[in-house]
Amino acid sequence: MIDVMYFAWVRERIGEPRETVETSAATVMELVEELRAREPRYAAAFEDLSALRVALDQELSDFDASLSGVREVAFFPPMTGG
């Protein structure tokens, strides 16, 4: 069980801000593949990974990273603070 969060247009495309996902994915990429296979709205949100960033337990990470011990995964576009 892992908490998955979405922000900005990723949240809008998927239609919800967070969900709990039952998964055995070992890496972020495997989780992305599982989500993509679910429904077209996920496929649309994860279409271009170069336009996405990922955080694991609130630390910026990358798509090759392991999900071992991770409780919270967040997907979002490049940040626009300041």
Partner: protein, 151 residues
């Protein structure tokens, strides 16, 4: 050091007056205030979304790095989220140091990192009802390389 993430407006003057007050171990204070810009006169408001929890952690990490690197005496970051009208203050950075070069550089470093490494996303709402997520700029990412190269 102080990090505040809030929806409420703030007064830069009041913040500056209170910043590093009563301390004599500094010789320079630099502040930067970011304001909602409306170049075309078509913007109704900007809505800023953030990632509660990660936002505070990411900003604190950046502040700690700046404080160490430039030996800052004091450092303040305020960043708003929620709905903001053109002309409203979005954020403020203040740095205090013994010398001005360190205070200026640290403030620039903080701004560059807040732009690309603090989890905020801006959405523009125009007066005619259309909406648009603000894209990150390639320049913003490039700006970080300068600090990495200097390290």
């Amino acid at each position: 050091m102080t990090v505040r993430v809030q929806t409420e407006p703030f007064d830069p003057g009041t913040e500056l007056s209170a910043f590093a007050q009563g301390r004599s171990d500094l010789g320079a204070v630099v502040t930067f205030t970011g304001v909602v810009r409306d170049d075309a006169g078509t913007l109704d408001r900007m809505e800023i979304e953030h990632y509660p929890g990660m936002t505070e952690k990411a900003i604190s990490k950046i502040v700690i790095e700046a404080t160490d690197r430039w030996s800052l005496t004091e450092c303040l970051v305020i960043h708003r989220h929620g709905a903001l009208k053109p002309g409203e203050q979005i954020m403020m950075v203040a740095t205090a140091s013994a010398h001005r070069v360190a205070a200026f550089e640290a403030a620039e470093f903080l701004m560059d990192y807040l732009k690309s490494r603090a989890p905020f996303w801006k959405k523009e709402f125009t007066k005619d009802g259309s909406t648009d997520w603000v894209d990150a700029k390639v320049n913003d990412e490039e700006a970080l390389k300068r600090w990495e190269a200097d390290r």
